[in-house]
């Protein structure tokens, strides 16, 4: 069904017409989404009135390692609360954002003797001072809060109100204390000093394909099922004044030739044994008063919506996912009131050898807040490699340029959009895009629907017939349930169907330390 209708609607076999039509549809959808009748909306935590990734994440564009403040927000706003006695839970049901923020902010501004609580207040102050931390790429759940970043405008009042409220309700304050303690590293078992951030992620993924692998090469054809540790990383950051040093270390085991994990290896096993990997390691200098951060090292590429689904075509086909697409280079990030962005000069991935496979060029994005809860951004990437390590083609210049948006229609509903043009040597023009609607039915339980499209462009080097995804549009759809069931624990189930691939069910346990 998808194949027939999708192909016709997107322009049949003409890739240029298909690209134009897809972009037109996405742009229209984007503007409709950005200017809803009720101008409320951000993805994820931004819907609660928060923006500014650097306050919640060590990475100025979001993802991975959380700050103490980010941990507190994760505990109060992200996870499900049970029993109805939690003040933070009740705040979530509030119809007013400011009211919500008040309750959430309460623990932050209370004078906590606990170290975690103390640290959780710091970003708040920083935010009030700078008032320039705007959010990073949305969606980045993972540590999920790429959006929940610190409160920006209007945070002071809620904080004061929260303090008053908290002081008049000692029982709730105690609950919040407990929650904040639990938000620390290893569920609060270890209190780290202010200059040190520690974290980690473990993801166990189960994949089920009732119809098998659709000829991709495995012996098992029906009822294909595997489970494996997809991610087992620890990461940390040490701060010395305005300088910071961050790094991650993990283990992975993938098959020979796998597109996953390999590019992040630091050990040299080329077979299917366990290897150590490091996805990120960088040095940073924060220009405190200006909102700029300068980094050098191995980093996520600043591009598009920073979602955690690394196999989503907008991340996979553009090679800008956080799984193993990181590159070495130098990046300058800016986080202001209504504008944020990051530009990275790519020097190549020095965990890939030999040098001819290293891509060099730039990647960057800029995002503007068109309303308090809607943002519109542009991204651009250009690289050159003597030989492409994915296609093995020689002298490859690769370009990706696109737009993205994130917006929320209510306290519960958010929308992420991205559309990118793909241009590469030896390929005709291609495109990819996605739209993801997230509905938080109750705090901590998200229902998501995602549509995606891809045409990587006809391969003029290899030739052959035009097929979906390469010369013809390829469409896919996802239905997902994401449940932040407990402190630092996420359970997620996805079912997706893509043209030329069999239907796939994913089950994921994610524990972030």
């Amino acid at each position: 069904m998808l194949e027939g209708s999708g192909t016709r609607k997107l322009g049949g076999r003409d890739p240029i017409r298909a690209s134009q039509r897809l972009l037109s549809v996405l742009i229209v959808a984007l503007f409709v989404a950005l200017f809803p009748s009720k101008a409320h909306a951000y993805p994820w935590m931004i819907k609660h009135g928060y923006s500014g990734c650097p306050v919640c994440h060590a990475d100025p564009s979001g993802g991975e390692l959380l700050t103490a403040y980010g941990r507190a927000q994760s505990e109060l706003l992200l996870r499900m609360h049970y029993g109805g006695s939690s003040s933070s839970s009740s705040s979530s049901s509030s119809s007013s954002d400011s009211e919500s923020d008040s309750s959430k902010a309460a623990p932050k501004d209370d004078k906590k003797s606990d170290a975690t609580s103390d640290k959780a207040t710091q970003p708040k102050k920083e935010d009030e001072d700078e008032d320039d931390k705007s959010d990073a790429n949305s969606g980045d759940d993972d540590d999920d809060d790429d959006d929940k970043p610190a409160a920006k405008s209007g945070d002071a009042k809620p904080a004061q109100a929260a303090s008053t409220e908290a002081s008049s309700k000692p029982d709730e304050s105690t609950d919040d204390d407990e929650e904040l303690k639990q938000s620390g590293f290893l569920w609060g078992l270890i209190n780290t000093p202010d200059w040190l951030l520690l974290g980690g992620s473990y993801r166990q993924l189960s994949v089920y394909k009732p119809n098998g692998l659709a000829g991709s090469g495995a012996v098992i054809r029906k009822g294909y099922f595997v489970t494996f540790p997809m991610q087992a990383d620890v990461y940390g950051q040490a701060s010395f004044g305005s300088f910071r040093v961050e790094g991650s270390l993990g283990i992975i085991r993938v098959g020979v030739g796998s597109p996953y994990g390999r590019a992040a290896q630091i050990t040299t096993g080329q077979g299917d044994q366990w290897n150590l990997l490091s996805r990120t390691h960088w040095l940073a200098y924060d220009f405190t008063d200006s909102g700029f951060t300068l980094r050098a090292g191995h980093m996520n590429l600043p591009f598009g919506v920073r979602i955690p689904e690394h196999t989503m075509w907008v991340r996979f086909a553009t090679r800008t996912d956080r799984e193993s697409s990181q590159q070495d280079g130098v990046a300058l990030a800016f986080n202001g009131d209504s504008l944020r962005g990051e530009l990275m000069g790519i020097a190549g991935n020095y965990q890939v050898n030999p040098d001819k496979y290293r891509e060099r060029g730039y990647s960057g994005y800029a995002e503007y807040m068109v309303s308090p809860k809607a943002a519109l951004g542009v991204s651009s990437l250009l690289t050159y490699a003597k030989q492409d390590r994915i296609t093995l083609e020689q002298n490859v210049t690769r370009m990706v340029h696109g737009v993205f948006a994130r917006t929320a229609f209510s306290d519960q509903t958010t929308l992420l959009l991205e559309a990118d043009m793909l241009a590469s040597s030896h390929h005709e023009l291609g495109y990819t895009g996605f739209a993801q609607l997230d509905f938080e039915i109750i705090q901590g339980l998200h229902l998501m629907a995602t549509g995606e499209a891809l045409d990587q462009g006809y391969d003029t080097l290899h030739g052959g017939p035009r097929v979906v995804g390469q010369g013809q549009p390829q469409l896919g759809g996802w239905a997902s349930v994401d449940w932040f069931c407990w402190s630092h624990v996420e359970l997620r189930a996805d079912v997706y169907s893509r043209q030329a691939d069999s239907i796939t069910a994913l089950g994921q346990l994610h524990v972030f330390l």
Binding site: V256, R389, Q470, W486, G507
Partner: protein, 181 residues
């Protein structure tokens, strides 16, 4: 927002956790590349072959359906006999390819597929672009090698089990006295 019954939520969580944990551990990878090496070693025992990347038969190292290159298409010809989704058919297909007369030249560069494979060139990309591309020299990592051979699949459940035990232990420790009462 509404609340959910804690006991019910715990039950669902335990069920999902079990789903993640009980399955036979494995890692998602294709059986084709090693099957292709074995088939070539068997057919041409005097030649050293590598385990090729997915690009031997696909257009990218990501492999997958709908991504077959001209050599992959050759192997799927009815007279060669490779069947999608059945790696056990690789050896008969290579045997048929070796016997084919006249020799098959998928990329049309004047050198037969078998000759190109045995010299390390790509049978799907015409030379010189395809030279040495059957087994590309890509390597990963920048430090020491930590494992000489793969551990058994069961090892992959150890970290999952440790995390689960840790969660249970922490949860028990965190239960507040008033709730116990």
């Amino acid at each position: 927002m509404a609340y959910i019954d804690k006991a019910r939520a715990s039950l669902i969580g335990a069920a999902l956790l079990a789903l993640c944990a009980i399955a036979r551990p494995a890692h998602a990878s294709s059986d084709y590349p090693p099957a292709l090496k074995d088939a070539l070693d068997k057919e041409f025992p005097d030649v050293n072959h590598c385990v090729p990347l997915c690009t031997a038969c696909h257009k990218t190292t990501q492999g997958g359906p709908g991504n077959i290159n001209v050599f992959g298409s050759t192997l799927e010809r009815s007279d060669i006999g490779l069947v999608q989704g059945d790696a056990s058919r690789v050896a008969p297909a290579i045997h048929n390819l070796a016997l084919a007369m006249p020799p098959i030249d998928s990329d049309g560069d004047g050198v037969s597929d078998i000759d190109e494979i045995n010299t390390g060139d790509s049978p799907s990309i015409a030379g010189p672009a395809g030279d040495s591309q059957f087994c590309p020299d890509t390597t990963y990592g920048c430090g020491a090698h930590i494992a000489a051979r793969p551990p058994s699949d069961g090892w992959s459940l150890i970290p999952a089990g440790l995390v689960a035990l840790g969660l249970l232990a922490v949860r028990r420790r965190k239960v507040r006295p008033e709730l116990r009462r």
